[in-house]
Amino acid sequence: MIRSFRRAWDRFWFPPIPLGDLACLRIVWAGAVLAYFLSSDLTHSIARLEGPHAEGFHPLPLLRLLALPLGGAESLTRGKLEIVLVATQVAGALAVLGLRTRWSLLAFAAGSLLLQSWFYSGQPLTHHVALLQWSLVLLAFSRCGEVLSLDAWLARRSKREPGRNPTDLAAEGAWPARAVHALLALAYLSAAATKVLRGPENWFTGWTLHYFVSFHALRSGSEAGLWLAERHAWITAIAWIVVAFEVGFVLSIFQRRARWIWALACAVIHAGAALFMGVVFPSFPVLCACLIPWTTVATGIARLRAPRERGRAAA
């Protein structure tokens, strides 16, 4: 029985995956976290830090752990944090480009988690990049730098290693994509459960969502929000769709062929939240990149283009 469980476990979590898919996840996820760091409030918060931390500073456990090599969370000074910020951004750029990929990705993940946990140790916590940052940790232990990277280019040039192709399979390599997929499903289940458990009749009659849509429309003057706020029946339908999506997302783990539909639905749901409620939460659609078979898509597009190019050459 243990053996059959282990076989099922391996089949589910550790199937092969094209190296190109892992490389695309590295570029998309690391690129998104890097873009976040270049545009976030973190730089300003570090610049405002003078002397010891204020009274409201309660280091998160992860910060205590990651700050150990720097002398502990309490001794993080502006100078140290600025060095970590620069080092993290450099590591992020290297991770996207794929140079010394494993180490640059690991350093990027650790640096971004340290900086973010420092920020949340003194500020109200939000969760908009949490899973994305953790996904980089998972990806750092994969073969995501073997193609579409400077490492691959350098290896090919020096003829140290045989050139690999994005369509080559990484044996047992799909676990980071699978893990992130499952973490996303748990996050969506959590969102659905709180909506349903805290006030099922309020949610399913549309009033909870109507309140938030109207509140945002009033505050921002959003025309799209004001338009939707006058249509209670539409909002009720959307409230049902949102919960159906959040609960149903777990099915996408088992529906390989329909995964792209769930990725598309994820993008639409979050685009709608941004448009009508001002909730800009791009990290989940970015994480949904793990639902897209990048190499298959690229191969399909190349196949479609090939006859056209052959025709042009013949002409």
């Binding site: 969760h127 047992e172 980071p176 893990a179 969102a191 909506k195």
Partner: protein, 140 residues
């Protein structure tokens, strides 16, 4: 450590921590005092693993959104808005009483602002309340 071993460890760790965070197994609600010893991992202790309770605070038809706009009226100058302050009713409290309570609190909170303004400036409050209906938050 092979990539497979590291992968297996990280996979189980991630799912376990996310499962605990989303289910709040180790953070039962305060309303269940008998389970208080289990409150050992409430958010944000497990960050980056958290729950996602956004926009779940229940609302119903007829709910109100009320706020006070506090201003300083100064002679020969346009009034200066000091801020918008949300008003909520306590249990069995009327809106009138809630507005009065919040205005009394604001007089104390904004005292320094008034003192530093030119003499004969005065603090004024504008009460606002909207009610949730079929056409959104509208005047009652």
């Amino acid at each position: 450590m092979t990539s497979r071993t590291a992968g297996g460890f990280l996979l189980v760790l991630s799912l376990l921590l996310q499962g605990v965070a989303t289910s709040r197994l180790l953070c039962p609600p305060n309303s269940l005092p008998s389970l208080a010893p289990l409150r050992i991992a409430c958010p944000p202790l497990l960050w980056p693993f958290t729950d996602y309770p956004m926009f779940s605070e229940p609302h119903r038809e007829g709910d109100s959104l009320a706020w006070i706009e506090a201003r300083i009226e100064m002679p020969d100058r346009a009034p200066r808005i000091l801020g918008l302050y949300r008003v909520r009713t306590a249990e069995s409290e009327t809106w009138e009483a809630a507005f009065e309570r919040e205005e009394r609190r604001l007089v104390g909170v904004l005292d320094a602002e008034v003192s530093s303004s030119p003499r004969s400036s005065r603090l004024t409050f504008q009460r606002n309340r909207l009610v949730l209906g079929e056409r959104g938050l509208v005047a009652p």
